[in-house]
């Protein structure tokens, strides 16, 4: 009987790995080896006499930072679990009391991100974000060039107000549909490649423009606030970031159209699809209008009253208003709130605070960047280079969690305004152009099947270089104009 059941069920759903055994073994032992390396590094640093210039609490904080760094960089456990580990180890090692550690989880940045998640969910759920996308494409996308440009700009614009990952996920089906009706051949069509690169790059470039494009900027600000008590307003951040966004939008467009010259003559078929979508949506509903109004009011409040009332309070206030008017149910929102990311940020902020207050971040700065950099400009150049390179292979937030404590330590040493370290870390950490693993936006674009790896690698490398140069030019020449000086006056 058992035989019949097995036979009726078909073969086991298994895959047999046929790679050489040494490769399989290396792959399988990687995780336990890395886990062990992290533990050994922690134990070694913890058991060691404090390094010269480092207090005992700093030495212990360094041990916690080391194990978290290994796990964040290698991703052997989920990023949020590493953050939880940090929150467990900080009180256990005596670096911070338990009450203080867990209180840091209640940082404003964490709640701001929670509010931003819910607001983004509201936009997606009511269809307003799709309407904005379709409207832009319908209004401007009538030739191959304007359609591509509209898609690029539309993704960037939406990422000003929503998480760039959510924007990529939302606009991906539209982009796929456009590519499909235009009968673009996978891996062959220049226009197909350009469309998906425009989608991925648009979301990334737009994502650094405001505090809403992702969790990096709020995380960096949260760590800054816990370490120094200083912060950034919504408007100040946007003011500091916009020239970089403008340069990268122009550069990104040029790179896309030069690397992938447009090879189709008409987008009439795509017009039809976009028109159909617009017709299917009909007129904006009352709910959409109401949510649109609340979003505009929230944006205005962030700009005008962000410093006085706090960004998180405004975001959560908007959330309360949305629910109070019954515009959304909790079950609508829940799938869009990434609780794991919130946990990750809470732990990273606690660790960053412990590193700064114990003197460990300053000590790391003295041991590393101080040897290489001779001026504040060089410091920012090195920090931004690390950020932009690490983010190609690591989560954006993990890069911020890793670099921010060190950057704050360096700032003290070089008498740089520590506030500058938040954008110096968070802006480059949001720009991963070359690899699919760099950011979900890239991965989504790559999954379309229109892009080969080299289609991303070569133009992406060019964009990385441009982005780094643009960031440093803006930091050196533009930021002083708005009152942000690198060198101590």
């Amino acid at each position: 009987m058992a035989a019949l059941e097995e036979s009726a069920r078909g073969p086991y759903r298994v895959v047999v790995d046929t790679r050489p055994m040494w490769r399989i073994l290396a792959g399988r032992t990687y995780r336990p080896v890395v886990l062990l390396v992290g533990v050994l590094l922690f134990a070694a640093l913890y058991g060691m006499e404090p390094r010269p210039g480092l207090a005992p609490a700093g030495q212990k904080a360094l041990a916690v930072f080391a194990i978290c760094m290994v796990y964040w960089v290698t991703n052997v456990v989920p990023l949020m679990v590493t953050s939880i580990l940090a929150m467990v180890l900080l009180p256990l090692t005596g670096v911070l009391p338990a009450t203080e550690t867990y209180a840091l989880f209640g940082n404003e940045a964490v709640f701001f991100i929670l509010g931003a998640f819910i607001l983004a969910a509201t936009l997606i759920k009511c269809g307003l974000s799709t309407r904005i996308a379709v409207t832009i494409l319908r209004r401007f996308g009538h030739t191959p060039r304007t359609l591509l440009l509209s898609l690029f700009v539309m993704n960037a614009l939406l990422s000003f107000f929503m998480s760039e990952h959510a924007v990529a996920a939302m606009t991906f089906p539209i982009t796929v549909e456009i590519a499909s009706v235009l009968r673009l051949r996978r891996l062959e069509s220049n226009y197909g490649r350009a469309l998906f690169l425009a989608m991925a790059w648009g979301t990334q470039i737009g994502g650094i423009a405001t505090l809403l494009g992702g969790g990096r900027a709020p995380l960096a600000i949260g760590m800054l606030r816990e370490a120094t008590g200083q912060s950034w307003s919504f408007l100040q951040w946007t003011l500091a970031a916009w020239p970089i966004v403008a340069i990268l939008m122009v550069a990104g467009w040029q790179v896309i159209v030069r690397c992938f010259p447009i090879d189709i003559a008409s987008v009439r078929d795509a017009d039809v699809v976009i028109e159909e979508k617009a017709l299917r949506m009909g007129r904006p509903s009352v709910r959409e209008r109401a949510i649109g109004l609340i979003m505009l009011a929230t944006l205005a409040a962030w700009m005008v009253g962000g410093e006085d009332f706090g960004l998180a309070s405004i975001a959560l206030g908007a959330v309360v208003v949305i629910f109070a008017f019954g515009l959304l149910g909790w079950s609508d929102v829940e799938p869009y709130v990434n609780w794991g990311v919130l946990l990750m940020y809470g732990g990273a902020i606690a660790l960053g605070s412990a590193m700064t207050h114990s003197g460990a971040s300053r000590w790391i700065a003295e041991m590393t960047v101080s040897h290489w950099a001779q001026s504040p400009f060089a410091v920012v150049a090195i920090i931004s280079a690390f950020g932009i390179l690490l983010t190609e292979a690591m989560s954006h937030s993990a890069v911020v969690a890793l670099l921010m404590p060190v950057a704050l330590g360096i700032a003290t040493q070089f008498h740089i305004d520590p506030r500058l370290m938040a954008p110096a870390v968070a802006l480059p950490a949001g720009l991963a152009f070359t690899l699919p693993v760099g950011t979900p936006g890239n991965a989504i674009a790559y999954s379309s099947g229109y892009l080969r790896l080299r289609d991303m690698l070569l133009p992406g490398s060019l964009m990385v270089a441009i982005a780094w140069g643009a960031f440093n030019l803006v930091a050196t020449y533009y930021w002083p104009l708005i009152g942000l000086r690198l060198s101590a006056s």
Partner: protein, 398 residues
């Protein structure tokens, strides 16, 4: 004769007479009427094993010398043949019945270290009236019996292992007319054996229609796999292997063998090539083609209408078998102790190569400690290589 592999070929092809003086010798006497009564399992020098048919007319005679047994005969050489051999006594368990009343000998046979289990009713091709033309056993199989119960098979294996009759299990499936080529039929038996015993498992089945069944076979615990092609030449294959050609096809055999050779460890996927049914050149071409796929060819001998090739052709074929497997870097030691087939390592005698490393490795794996190490390694390798694809139950099963 210094070539035990040649003696194996000659004994398998010609059979052996038994000296009437050996009547009453408990190691030689076989119960009348049983299938075991028609054969003698002999261990030749260098631990080469053969299952020699007991016949009335043969150039070879088994005699006793007080201390053991000898095979005497004329092989055309200068001096008559006189070689000391060991007669493997019939295991006692084969005379017993399972608790359900089934004779254990109907399910099992012992060939060297292999406990050969045939839980199926009969050869599927014979049932469909399309046995291979050269096949003696399949054509005579009873078709009116049911497949053995899993519990009976487990009982037989336990009885055999308690008697130390065989250390590895070798399943034979007669089922072919299914999507799975008989692998699905054998699944509960293999799973039960793996659950109850620490042993290596080999299966001889037919190519399934989907390669996923080959993955399934490896995942469920099969250590070695055979799809018997029998004949390489396309025309001879269609003429002699009627059922194989009609229901499966030569190309599918080759495809499935090639795929299995990628899934299973080196040297554990084999196929028989029958000697004498097709031209020698064709057998040699088959050896080359199969080894290029990573498959171990085994040259098998059948009695009947098909004469062995003359000695000046036989030697090069078997030497070519050894060299082809060696030169392709395929592991030589896993396919061994075949009753009627010459393994590549046995064929080294024809190539004049000692193959010392492979022979030493085979000695190690024959030892109790070496066998345990081989089984552990096989399990470990399987755990590393097999991954589930979504159904947690599948992952948990292996």
């Amino acid at each position: 004769m210094t070539n035990p592999a040649l003696l194996k070929v000659l004994l398998a092809a010609n059979g052996v007479r038994v000296d009437p003086l050996l009547r009453g010798d408990p190691t030689v006497d076989r119960p009348l009427g049983s299938s075991a009564a028609t054969r003698l399992d002999l261990v030749l020098p260098d631990a080469v094993r053969v299952s020699a048919p007991i016949v009335e007319r043969s150039p070879f005679l088994l005699v006793g010398n007080g201390r053991g047994h000898l095979v005497e005969g004329e092989t055309g050489g200068a001096t008559p043949l006189r070689v000391a051999v060991e007669v493997t006594p019939l295991p006692r368990f084969l005379g017993r019945r399972t608790r359900s009343g089934m004779p254990m000998s109907r399910i099992a046979a012992v060939r060297g270290e292999h406990l050969v289990l045939s839980p199926a009713a009969a050869c599927g091709f014979s049932v469909h009236g399309a046995p291979c033309r050269f096949c003696v056993e399949g054509a005579r199989s009873a078709v009116d019996r049911e497949a053995a119960a899993v519990e009976d098979v487990v009982e037989v294996v336990r009885a055999a292992f308690e008697e130390r009759a065989g250390s590895d299990v070798y399943f034979n499936s007669g089922v072919f007319d299914a999507e799975d080529g008989g692998i699905g039929f054998l699944t509960p038996y293999v799973e039960a054996v793996r659950r109850h015993f620490d042993t290596l498992v080999a299966v001889q089945v037919h190519p399934p229609r989907a390669n996923a069944w080959i993955d399934h076979a490896y995942a469920m615990g099969v250590d070695a796999l055979s799809f018997n092609l029998e004949i390489f030449d396309e025309t001879a294959f269609e003429r002699h292997c009627v059922g194989r050609a009609r229901y499966i096809g030569r190309d599918r055999y080759l495809e499935a063998l090639a795929y299995a050779a990628r899934i299973f460890p080196s040297g554990t996927v084999w196929t028989d090539l029958v000697l004498g049914v097709e031209p020698v050149a064709s057998t040699l071409a088959g050896i080359d083609a199969l080894t290029a796929l990573g498959v171990v060819p085994v040259v098998s001998i059948v009695r009947g209408d098909h004469a062995l090739p003359p000695p000046d052709e036989l030697g090069p074929v078997l030497a070519g078998l050894y060299r082809a497997v060696r030169d392709r870097g395929i592991a030589l030691g896993w396919v061994r102790d075949l009753a009627l087939g010459v393994s590549p390592l046995e064929a080294r005698w024809f190539a004049g190569d000692g193959a010392r490393l492979a022979v030493a490795m085979q000695h190690v794996t024959r030892s109790r400690l070496g066998g345990a190490a081989a089984r552990t390694l096989a399990r470990f390798r399987r755990r590393l290589r097999v991954r589930g694809t979504g159904d947690p139950a599948d992952v948990a099963r292996h």
